[in-house]
């Protein structure tokens, strides 16, 4: 029952807003907090071995052979936590600024969260596909209606069509495997897929990979991403960067890798694409002066690492990928939150036009710095644990790939420190009117900093849940 609750709480509160739009802020807060609490409850349930509450099967949808089946297991629990626990932050950002038609905006955010939750909870590959696609609709409207970018309709249409089109390849792969499976249930699909010939598996894998490569995104399928991240209102960008792309890495981990193991084993071409993506995005990031675009490109480098680690399929990759997905979510929200703070105060996010903020805003500088350090994977922050485990797996597979992907260690330091330095350090600029952090902003950043440090110091708090889940349900 918990799974059903997790799936429908955000959507339910989103619907309520249509009934009473004056209460929309409160409803959004209550809905997102309840959802986060339920997700934490589910994690506790997993760690105590109470999994009977975490399965739901609405039965066969004839004649499709698809099940409305949900489950929380070792792989999904951290994604559920990520999605549910970041939602209050995103709601906070969404309700921070005055905007027209706020209730519609907030309800779309909640709908999107529900759709993504569906993808993480789905125990059926067709349900996964539906939710994966459905999440596009709310974000499409969020960008179209609330973006301030001039060419927003062009940007958002490209994003929408590109990702939708790429998903067709996943559909082909699913349908192909379905011919040999009893149902769309992921377990049935895995049983059927792993029996396919290597040749077939390679093609099925390729279909999945192309769909995911656009969503993650991986070079050269990424050109929709920077402009979309930049154009979207910050809450939307956070949804995209922190959670939405994880549907793709999660799908790779939960469905593709076990379903077509022989295909995944012969995926060096995809791994090299990830390596190229990481390095390419790092180089492009060097050239950015817009903070949001910088985060966008650094995000391509980071998620490229996640995909690369998953594909390496080493014995530390699974946990590494899960931890890094959570970590990247928290850090992306933190960085975009800071970008939003800057943009809403000075009207742009070009850090080379800023400087000297540190003198008057030491607390902001401190929190910003910790998040930057987490982003460059400093030990004792969440960024390190994930990246180290992933690189370890990549290196066991091919040390040259690890060395090349590891260049982010250097590149990340170059562009993130430059952004920090240009914004915060140097002489105080009296002409730059910059209001100090509000209490709520301080709290948001502090909580995010605590989360990244807590995971970095004691990753066991997440990994133990995963291990327990593995004992109980398997992957």
């Amino acid at each position: 029952m918990l799974t059903l609750a997790l799936l429908f709480i955000p959507a339910f509160f989103g619907l309520m807003m249509f009934l009473s739009s004056d209460l929309s802020k409160k409803l959004a807060w209550v809905g997102s907090l309840i959802n986060a609490a339920v997700a934490i409850g589910a994690a506790v349930a997993v760690s105590y071995g109470k999994t009977e509450m975490l399965e739901f099967d609405g039965g066969n949808i004839a004649p499709l052979g698809a099940h409305f089946a949900l489950s929380i297991n070792a792989t999904s629990i951290l994604m559920v936590l990520l999605n549910a626990c970041l939602l209050p932050f995103i709601v906070h950002v969404a309700s921070k600024h005055e905007m027209r038609n706020e209730s519609a905006f907030l309800s779309l955010i909640l709908f999107m969260s529900s759709a993504m939750m569906g993808a993480f909870l789905a125990n059926d590959s067709f349900l996964f596909y539906i939710c994966y696609e459905a999440a596009l609709v709310p974000i499409y409207f969020i960008i179209l209606q609330w973006s301030t970018a001039e060419n927003k309709s062009k940007i958002v249409l490209k994003f929408f069509v590109y990702t939708l089109f790429a998903s067709l390849f996943m559909l082909f792969s699913l349908l192909y495997v379905r011919q040999f499976a009893d149902s769309f249930l992921i377990s049935d699909m895995i049983a059927a897929g792993s029996k396919l010939s290597q040749h077939e598996q390679v093609w099925v894998f390729a279909g999945f990979f192309i769909a995911f490569a656009v969503k993650i995104p991986i070079f050269p399928f990424h050109t929709w991403q920077p402009n979309t991240y930049k154009a979207a209102p910050t809450a939307g960008t956070m949804l995209l960067a922190a959670v939405m792309l994880k549907m793709a890495t999660y799908g790779l981990l939960r469905i593709t890798m076990p379903m077509v193991p022989a295909g995944a084993e012969n995926a060096d071409w995809a791994m090299w694409l990830c390596v190229i993506s990481i390095i390419y995005a790092s180089f492009v990031a060097l050239n950015q002066t817009s903070f949001k675009l910088l985060i966008a490109y650094s995000s391509i480098a980071h998620v490229g690492m996640i995909a690369l680690g998953i594909l390496a399929n080493g014995n530390t990759a699974y946990e590494g990928a899960l931890i890094e997905m959570v970590s990247h979510g928290a850090i992306a929200v933190g960085l975009f939150f800071i970008a939003d703070m800057i943009e809403s105060r000075v009207g742009h996010d070009h850090f080379n036009k800023l400087g000297g903020l540190r003198e008057k805003h030491p607390a902001f500088a401190f929190l910003f710095f910790v998040i930057v350090m987490a982003s460059v994977a400093l030990p004792l922050t969440s960024g390190f644990v994930g990246e180290f485990l992933l690189l370890q797996s990549v290196g066991s597979h091919n040390i040259v790939m690890a060395l090349l992907a590891g260049l982010t260690v250097v590149f990340g330091a170059v562009y993130m420190l430059r952004a920090f330095q240009s914004t915060m350090l140097g002489k105080h600029n009296a002409e730059l009117a910059f209001a100090d952090m509000t209490a709520s902003e301080k709290w948001v950043l502090t909580v995010l900093v605590i989360i990244t440090i807590a995971i970095g110091v004691y990753p066991g708090m997440l990994l133990d849940v995963v291990h327990k889940g593995l004992q109980l349900t398997g992957i």
């Binding site: 014995n315 590494g320 690189l391 260690v409 004691y458 066991g460």
Partner: protein, 632 residues
């Protein structure tokens, strides 16, 4: 007693956290007490632990908590207490404490006083984690942590652009080395299944490594060491790091952090011992660095830059020792160097303090009269680094030279040249600073004063250590003759490779006299040039000799790296960001989109262009399609 070890890093961490939460409303006095007190407490516990190690000589692992357990990777946050780590503890906390006390005087007028102490405490915390960690990953926590602290402290005066650039450069160049260390860790774990020192070395897990893999791992580890310990070609960040306040230069960029690379190699000594190629690489890189640093230092006129290049050069000496397999002697030189280089840096800080911020030795002279304590202690440091008996540097450097003589004659000769340069540039600086006529402005002369007791007391303590510190490592043959043991070698033996040569007493004595003779000649030459003849030092734009120019320009590494790495990287980034990204890739994507649109134009009337309707049709159509497929 070893259980107490957790307290050692805990005290500085608490000191740091206190400043984070309450620093705003804490007086400078209280900050001094808490900040220095934390390090002193660590020092006391370190003494207890050290004493226990001295008696038991038995390595102990103390587990703090489970850190990363994922897949087959099990890494505890645990400390390894043995003679090597407890030796490091002692001088990190000991010298660290003195520098904290000194800072309370040096930084007393700085508005960032509390922040400074917070960073220093955090630095000591990470440095202790670095040497205490029982695995390479725990070491890496400290390794990266000290890097960040170094970044924050080099750029401590963050209003100056140059300081921030220096800080960033240090962090980035260190990260190049860190990547080497990461790759080494990956290779070790992939091939042995562990990163724990005891498992690797005591339980013989490294035996499973092939010779070529051993060499590869050792080389990547060494790349990490090169970054942190400023070895050629990753050395250029260290001189720039002098932008930080002088106590930082003394603590981080002379006594402790920069010697982490030596610690890394010594800690993984068996790996290097088993790879002749890697050891040779270590030796030659060390040799190049020793010579390069010493020759550049000949022509520098910034008091801190001279000391910085001197540090680069001395670190090179230590790596030569490591490369020759004389690991305990490298550690010995780390210790004596910590004493006398910290002393020299703090002395230079005292000079800069007295000169009101001036760092150019061409504008100094005759400071002896105004700053007698600084002058006396600085002279002791200078004699120590020049290798004059019985000062500390004599013992450690002479043993490196002795080993080189037995090991490899050309290396020995080049090291002798480097140490001759050392004696010359140190006394050049000493004479230009403290003797002769004052060459600064009247305002500066009027301002000159001896530093307060909080600064001179640490100078005296370090001066005493620079005099007697060498006796912990009395040369083997001579010591054998007079029954004076090489205490350090005896203590370190086991965790650290000890190489005892078979040099006779006579050769040892002749070598010692010869090297001191050369140093004495260099001191005489320096005196002759700068005091007797009072030759003025050229301004930078007056330099005509090409060699002098090359040295003054530090062999042009900064310009070379700018042209080789920074500019190309930015150019590639620019090309990617403008041409590849938008003209090529996105161009293709858009072209594909346009083509599809052309095809779609035929079907356009079927749906009104509303994307939600489009999606709905899509999903409904899909379900119908699937239904048809699977009903069959």
């Amino acid at each position: 007693m070893e259980k107490l070890i957790t307290l050692v890093p805990l005290f500085p961490l608490v000191g740091f956290l206190y400043q984070v939460f309450f620093g705003k409303n804490t007086s400078k006095q209280l900050t001094t007490i808490i900040g220095s007190g934390a390090i002193f407490a660590s020092f006391v516990v370190s003494l207890i632990v050290f004493n226990s190690q001295l008696h038991s000589h038995h390595a102990v692992t103390v587990k703090v908590f489970e850190w990363i357990h994922a897949g087959s990777l099990h890494i505890d946050f645990a400390f390894l207490v043995d003679s090597l780590s407890s030796t490091y503890l002692l001088f990190i906390t000991g010298v660290g404490f003195l520098i904290h006390i000194y800072s309370s005087g040096y930084m007393s007028h700085d508005e960032g006083f509390n922040r400074f102490f917070a960073y220093l405490n955090l630095f000591v915390f990470f440095m202790l984690i670095l040497v205490l960690g029982d695995s390479l990953v725990t070491l890496f926590v400290g390794w990266e942590g000290v890097g960040v602290c170094s970044f924050m402290l080099i750029g401590f005066w963050y209003k100056e652009h140059a300081n921030n650039e220096a800080a960033k450069k240090a962090f980035i160049m260190n990260r190049v080395g860190d990547l080497g260390l990461i790759v080494a860790m990956i290779l070790i774990f992939s091939n042995t299944g562990t990163l724990n020192y005891v498992e690797l070395f005591n339980h013989g897990k490294i035996a499973s490594l092939s010779p070529s893999m051993l060499t590869t791992i050792a080389i990547f580890l060494f790349i990490g060491a090169m970054g942190k310990s400023a070895q050629f070609p990753l050395h250029t960040w260290l001189p720039d790091a002098m932008a930080g306040p002088t106590p930082v230069s003394a603590l981080i960029h002379a006594a402790t952090m920069v010697t982490a690379g030596i610690y890394l190699v010594a800690r993984n000594g068996d790996l290097f011992e088993m790879s002749h190629t890697a050891s040779n690489l270590v030796m030659y890189v060390g040799l190049i660095t020793a010579l390069m640093g010493a020759t550049i230092a000949l022509t520098q006129n910034d008091i801190k830059k001279v000391l910085a290049y001197s540090t680069v050069s001395q670190l090179g000496f230590m790596f030569v020792a490591l490369g020759m397999g004389a690991h305990s002697i490298a550690v010995f030189h780390v210790i004596t160097h910590a004493f006398f280089k910290a002393l020299l840096f703090l002395g230079s800080g005292s000079v800069i303090h007295g000169m009101g911020g001036e760092q150019d030795i061409r504008r100094m002279g005759g400071l002896k009269k105004y700053m007698p304590t600084t002058q006396k202690t600085f002279l002791i440091g200078t004699l120590a680094i020049a290798g004059i008996f019985p000062f500390a540097g004599f013992f450690s450097k002479d043993q490196i030279l002795a080993h080189a003589m037995e090991h490899n004659m050309p290396v020995f000769i080049l090291l002798v040249i480097a140490s001759a340069c050392t004696a010359f540039y140190m006394f050049r600086m000493y004479y230009l600073t403290f003797h002769g006529e004052f060459r600064g402005t009247h305002a500066q002369e009027h301002h000159l004063h001896e530093s307060p007791a909080s600064m001179t007391i640490p100078l005296w303590v370090l001066a005493v250590l620079s005099i007697v510190g060498g006796f912990i490592g009395f040369p083997h043959a001579m010591g054998h003759a007079i029954h004076f043991p090489h205490a350090l070698d005896h203590f370190l033996e086991g965790p650290v490779l000890v190489a005892v040569g078979d040099m006779s007493v006579t050769v040892e004595i002749i070598l010692a006299l010869a090297t001191m003779g050369i140093a004495a000649v260099m001191i005489y030459v320096a005196h002759n040039i700068y005091i007797a003849k009072a030759t003025p030092v050229l301004e930078d734009n007056e330099i005509t000799s090409p060699i002098h120019k090359l040295l003054n320009k530090k062999y042009g590494f900064d310009e070379l790296y700018e042209a080789m790495f920074k500019k190309p990287a930015n150019a590639i980034g620019h090309a990617f960001a403008t041409v590849v990204e938008w003209k090529i890739i996105d161009g293709i994507v858009n072209a594909a989109g346009t083509a599809a649109e052309g095809v779609g134009a035929l079907a356009r009337r079927l749906h009104g262009g509303h994307i939600a309707g489009y999606l709905l049709t899509f999903i409904v159509g899909l379900i119908i399609l699937l239904g048809l497929i699977f009903k069959a």
